[in-house]
Symmetry: C2
Subunit: 367 residues, 2 copies
């Protein structure tokens, strides 16, 4: 692993998006979104993914300077056509719109069609916090997950994020795929030569498997819960709900028609909508009760759960958002570790666009 | 099992609620809600629960003739004080309000405080369907579930329901506890003398167990996913979100303070809010896109997923709501099977209130 200062990577990312043709403000937002993924420990959604966005742009499957349009709205809702832009740009735009609607109507809900991968779901949800609002964010994604009783890859990892403000405690932040685990966890096991626990994936015939390579052999990921006996049908329900909210409400592609993120796979023929879809929501806390009282109760909720009795052998009980916030603090201070392959990818990108990229981060001057 | 005609049980339930002092329309709504639980196969939430409501009413922990009040509202939100009424009454009232708000603002969201157990979550969500709206329903509940890494019973089974209309296909209806399984499944295993799968519950020290009686021995239910390795922290996130939406937004009791449904347990001291809480939502489909286009896409979504390839040994792939709808059809035709103990409970209730109850359903005259 090679450790880079967070700010260096963020600036490089913003410059690179500008080289693709992104307007500066959009490039900065997109870079911030990838940077937050790296800081929060979702390494698969940080700069490691930059080359993937570039490849989609080269294939004209991604528009770096989209003209986003609101194509329908009511006091508390809107549909945004993302003009095939980066989800890293269209989703924050949609979330801002949801926040503006919530200021007047109490809540705001924006469905996005014609978009692309939007990074970590939590980034967009957390935008609501500074407005004393609850933020909600979900997206559909490349199909890798099988419905219960099926071996067809019909759903993405379809994440849900919910960010809720507190007063003196840090905010409560859920950011979870609706599968048992994210794909990145399988790659970790592959590198270590280890098997996966039952309930993570199934083989190409839909049988239980512990093969960490099962996905690469035509298998599929399992919805949260795993098999039917362990509640996997509930994970299927959640993933399906995310797909419908993100894509059927917005007019994007759903289910098996969702265009893949990887450039070596063609989008399925006979598209049923436009691009991929997101769904963003903002709930003004004081549309229900005064914000201070709510946030005091959130403080009490958080303290109560943090002080729950631990199970035998466990050190502490966590609040959603704790691990990511602690890692952010650590990585802001000590830097972001990148795999050699990711550094090589970034170097290649820098050469492609004529940008400077320092391969030995010890030589980076702090600003 | 003794099999009763559905309508007979519904009429008896409505009469009984009226004997408690419920106004007739509220009694009919409450009876319909319990009846739908019986028809849909959620037997624990049907007439089997009637005696539980009566015991709470006798203890004055439930108000049969509540004066419900809207205590705060914006164009798309409201908070309802349920005046300690039946959740079977306050939740439909709140859902109607959400639907009215959605007609004007696009969406409507109502948080309910000072309520009681509201039956099956799906009943309230499904009220939105006939208005071409998506319905959402959640509630907190008696604490039986431990957060990940904890042995404290701090959350209820905290269900989420989402009902989405289709055109020619039946609606898509999720109605799920945010635990691996509902408590009723453990009781089935107890009756059969069988062990539970790992991941359903833990013992009083927070260790994994297959003991179907673990809950009765001080153990706790596990959130959807089970242990950390199988994604149980995500189920914890979902249960926590339901608790916060239902109770912290509304001003009801949350976490370990939620008053228990069972009458032999006292509500915890130092209540942090009023009663238990619900959260209901209605999303007008054409606040996003014309309803017909949306519903045609839902038909396509449903047909596509129903035709997904089955895993080895599986007969078919289900759409959320399929099993409950099929059972409703069967039970409307053939009747609702009740345990002897439930029949005995109903007989006892009938004697208490001087109502007629026929113990041998063969003698029931069809209307």
């Amino acid at each position: 692993m090679i450790i880079y200062p967070s700010e260096y990577l963020k600036d490089f990312t913003a410059e690179l998006f500008q080289c693709m043709g992104c307007p500066e403000d959009q490039a900065r937002t997109a870079a911030d979104c990838l940077n937050q993924a790296d800081l929060r420990g979702v390494d698969s959604h940080g700069v490691a993914r930059l080359s993937g966005y570039v490849r989609l742009w080269e294939l004209k499957r991604l528009n770096a300077s989209p003209e986003m349009k609101i194509i329908h709205e009511t006091p508390s809702t809107a549909v945004l056509d993302g003009d095939l832009g980066l989800g890293l740009v269209t989703a924050p735009f949609a979330m801002k719109l949801a926040i503006e609607k919530a200021k007047i109507a109490g809540t705001g809900w924006v469905a996005v069609q014609n978009s692309n991968h939007y990074g970590i779901a939590g980034y967009h949800a957390m935008m609501a916090l500074e407005h004393d609002m609850i933020g909600i964010s979900m997206t559909n994604a490349s199909p890798l997950v099988a419905p219960t009783f099926s071996k067809s890859r019909f759903l993405g990892t379809n994440p849900i994020a919910v960010a809720i403000p507190a007063l003196t405690e840090p905010p409560f932040v859920i950011d979870m795929a609706t599968t048992t685990v994210a794909n990145g966890k399988l790659e970790v096991l592959q590198r270590k030569g280890m098997d996966a626990p039952l309930g993570w994936t199934q083989d190409k015939d839909g049988n239980p498997t512990t093969d960490a390579y099962s996905l690469k052999k035509g298998g599929s990921m399992l919805p949260l819960g795993g098999d039917r006996e362990h509640g996997g049908h509930k994970g299927y329900c959640l993933g399906a709900m995310v797909d419908i909210f993100s894509a059927v409400l917005s007019g994007a592609n759903y289910g098996p028609w969702v265009p893949p993120f990887v450039s070596f796979l063609e989008p399925p023929a006979n598209q049923v909508g436009k691009g991929i879809g997101h769904f963003l929501g903002a709930i003004r806390v004081d549309a229900f009760r005064p914000a201070t009282g709510f946030k005091e109760d959130m403080d009490n909720w958080i303290k109560t759960f943090r002080n729950a009795e631990t199970s035998t052998g466990q050190e502490r009980v966590l609040i959603p958002g704790d691990p990511e916030r602690e890692l952010t603090f650590e990585r802001m201070k000590n830097g972001i570790p990148l795999h050699e392959q990711v550094v090589a990818d970034l170097l290649e990108l820098s050469l492609k666009f004529g940008l400077k990229f320092i391969v030995n981060p010890d030589k980076i001057q702090s600003k």
